[in-house]
């Protein structure tokens, strides 16, 4: 650990990121440009989130990293190890014990508290990018609050599919001003964007940082006759029987066998430890793999 500055980045880089975070918190949902650095991992692996986490961590923090809700996938494991080595922080898989949580594409099922910070990895921060490729134009659209195009997109969803088919990265309006991409979280998670914790978003390749302070109004875009609906698979977790959590569908054989499991591995584990058993689950055993 002595080979690195605390939390890998040099101090001037951290100051630049910290200033961007403060402006982001002061202008919720607005994408603050920042001078993203090369990190020892490729773009797309969470370099934006890693830089925001590096500028946020203190030695007393306990870090949790999740990838699609899971603590034990490659991306989560490598980022957790990165900060164990470069910042020397404690790490955990338990949501309630973490003070900083870096996430890729999920919000933990358990409600976060005022003492926690949620850092999102963001691939494309600009919600209007696939509708308007020019940065000059999208910046002008944000400044003029010209979001008609986004409603046209949702309307075209309805005319083509009979419903709003956007199921992840569902656009939100923050504090009745900026339309924001909540990163590719399932729209099931959108209602949770109004929370007690500080939410920071980092996009490394696109060089943008944005933020949502606690208790900030975050509204998913919709129409009066097609209201927003937070959807999930209509099933219970086959391991822990939870009916209120977001589920992954897992193919189990080549004969059409499948099962639904909680995407949030810590939520599922804690439910099983409390004695809940799903249709395909077995009694919880702490030592089992």
């Amino acid at each position: 650990m002595t080979d690195y500055n605390f939390a890998y980045l040099d101090e001037q880089t951290k100051r630049m990121i910290r200033r961007a975070i403060l402006k982001g918190l002061a202008i919720p949902g607005y994408q603050v440009p920042f001078a993203s650095r090369e990190m020892p991992m490729p773009y797309g692996w969470g370099t934006g989130g890693v830089q925001v986490s590096a500028a946020t961590l203190t030695p007393d923090d306990t870090l949790k990293v999740i990838d699609q809700g899971a603590d034990d996938t490659t991306n989560a494991v490598s980022i957790r190890k990165f900060f164990e080595r470069t910042a020397g922080v404690a790490t955990t898989e338990e949501t309630s014990k973490a003070s900083v949580i870096q996430t890729r594409h999920r919000i933990p099922e358990e409600d976060l508290t005022e003492d926690q910070i949620l850092v999102y990895q963001v691939p494309i921060p600009e919600p209007l990018r696939f509708l308007e490729p020019s940065e000059v134009e999208t910046r002008k659209m944000h400044s003029l609050e010209d979001y008609g195009l986004m409603h046209v997109k949702l309307y075209e969803d309805i005319s083509r599919h009979g419903q709003i088919a956007t199921s992840y990265a569902y656009p939100v309006k923050v504090e009745d001003r900026y339309v924001m991409d909540p990163s590719p979280i399932p729209k099931f998670d959108n209602p949770k964007l109004e929370m007690a914790a500080i939410q920071l978003f980092g996009a490394g390749r696109e060089q943008r940082i944005y933020a949502i302070p606690p208790y900030t109004q975050v509204v998913s875009l919709d129409f009066e006759d097609y209201p927003f609906e937070a959807s999930k698979a209509d099933a219970a977790c086959d391991l822990c029987a939870a009916t209120d959590s977001y589920l992954d569908e897992v193919i189990t054989d080549d004969a059409g066998g499948r099962m639904f499991v909680c995407s949030d591995t810590d939520y599922c584990r804690s439910r099983r430890a409390a004695g809940h058993v799903g249709a395909l689950g077995t009694a919880f055993d702490e030592d089992a793999a």
């Binding site: 939390a7 101090e11 951290k14 630049m16 918190l25 607005y30 946020t56 203190t58």
Partner: protein
Amino acid sequence: MHMQSLQGGFSSEPVEAAVAFRAAMSAMARPGRIETVAGAQPPAPMSVAAGVLILTLCDPETPVFLAGAWDCPEVRDWITFHTGAPFAGPETCAFALGDWAAVTPLSRFPIGTPEYPDRSTTVIVEMSELSEAGATLSGPGIQSSATLSLPEIAPMQANAVLFPLGLDFFLTCGDRLAGLPRTTKISNVEG
């Protein structure tokens, strides 16, 4: 340059700056909440909290405007030695430092542009008193309402109306600081 300008910085910058930033972030994310910071011993009339903010956030990329009594050789030397931040007038500064009488009128500072509302000044206002009582605040970061002693109500309300443009404030007193972003709505004064 006086010898005391070389002292009073962070003794362990990476860790102390990280802890200080978390306090500053928490203050900016939760207007009305007062945070305590440590690690800087700046020359008078600068407070410890203002010194910590300058050390944590300023460097050669951020022009600093010193207002009133804060524009003195001791403060200039201290900021130059510890941060390398250049000094600038109010029209071009990223950070401004002084007491309320010295930093006003606020119309001198950049409030950002419609395309880049983040390019606005962060004003550090040195206060003789700072308490969680006074004007009633609401907005992002505040669950229902909060109260905070503000130097003056009307200019802060006028600043909030500019949203998404506008200035952001840190109020400092001794080793304590509070944040007041442009999003905070200031409704009335208690008793």
